[in-house]
Symmetry: C2
Subunit: 213 residues, 2 copies
DNA sequence: GTTGCGCTAGTCAAGTTTGACTACTTGGCC
DNA sequence: GGCCAAGTAGTCAAACTTGACTAGCGCAAC
């Protein structure tokens, strides 16, 4: 099993989960091509430095890495004003990888950053796909709460008292997230938000309307 | 102000907040001296890989770094069985730094890992000190909830709908944490847990009882 | 009696993140 | 018409994290 995981790594594209990667790919894709500073500004305007703790340096690295991995293409633009900029565009593989990352972030509990990033990029998915993955998260959270409840009935000796108590906070967070996920799932079922398969989505908006600048 | 912050850095010890650093220092201190593998095992038995995402590699690095910074001392032990091990002991500066990190982790919202690590090391503080800092956290959380509520009344245009919605989850987590922190503060006031200034604490237990192995 | 597995103990290279730094352009103000 | 502040665009070295790898020892089964 471990060996297989290593072998499949070549297909799925490389490094492990990363909220930075997802957000950067997502912004480039949504803008239909962007340079580093544009990604950085967009993320800032979304308040992403706070909920995803992304700093400028990481963005440029993530862009270069994604380009090296064939998820983005680089087009050097001679500096008409200021230093030369590099324009990035998403490739087909980049789009596929991103969608997969969004799905992963929704599924995977443990890793709040990935969840946040996935929510931000939620409209990359079709409505039914998004609902399915959020429901999977709900199921996983419920399962974890059960496991954790059992763990608290038979606590591990030599784990200090206050460390066990900390599990209470964990459970509280899980319950909060559970309710929130359920409500999100319901809202999506009722047609909230514009998803990838809806008219007027990013996929059907003409290019010249995509960028504000 | 910025300049001052840089100057004071020399006094406080160097790098920024790190849950790893806090946990490693804490374990070494609690055990009254430990080698890498011992720290690693102890953290594992506390379930720390899950709530603090600490991997073995980081532990050894953190130990060396702390030793280089004068927070720990290294005593090479010739390998009586197996490879030679290095025994680490906390210095006075290490203890001070650690207590300060615990306080910081309690105060600082944003950064769940530091909170978890601080809770794990809570008995490093005196009872009144711990209560004071937890109460400060409560106050900060309340203030942030107010700010966030205002932000939602006047949402930022060009922030997508679903990103604004994500703030709901944020707020939910904050409320959960708020309740939990209040309850912890109350329990501490009522005398729960053995704190640094209580009889029978790690500070008053004789050395020969400290290590299980 | 040795093969293999798991535990002890840790190293190391590769990758990622950070935050300080560079450099150029506007636009406003005196 | 010159200077400073703010915005644009990005580089870079240093620090940190990760996960795979090394290596000795005990003991259980074959």
């Amino acid at each position: 099993m471990g060996k297989l995981a290593i072998e499949t790594r070549g297909l799925s594209g490389g490094g492990r989960v990363s909220a930075t990667k997802l957000l950067v790919l997502g912004i480039v894709h949504l803008s239909g091509g962007a340079h580093g500073y544009q990604v950085r500004s967009e993320l800032q305007s979304w308040g992403a430095e706070s909920w995803a703790k992304i700093k400028p340096g990481s963005i440029y690295h993530a862009l270069k890495k994604a380009a090296a991995d064939g998820l983005l293409t680089e087009h050097a633009e001679p500096g008409n004003s200021g230093p030369e900029r590099v324009l990035y565009r998403a490739t087909t593989r980049g789009r596929d990888e991103m969608v997969e990352l969004v799905r992963d972030g929704l599924r995977r509990t443990h890793d709040p950053d990935m969840l946040n990033a996935s929510i931000a990029m939620l409209p990359m998915l079709t409505r039914t796909d998004a609902i399915a993955h959020i429901n999977e998260r709900v199921a996983r959270l419920e399962a974890e709460l059960v496991v954790q409840a059992k763990w608290r009935e038979h606590p591990n000796r030599d784990t200090p008292e206050h460390v066990q108590d900390q599990a209470e906070l964990w459970a509280g967070h899980a319950r909060t997230e559970l309710e929130w996920a359920k409500s999100l799932s319901k809202r999506l079922s009722e047609g909230a938000y514009t998803m990838a398969d809806d008219p007027g989505s990013w996929r059907t908006v003409p290019d010249h309307l995509k960028m504000r600048s």
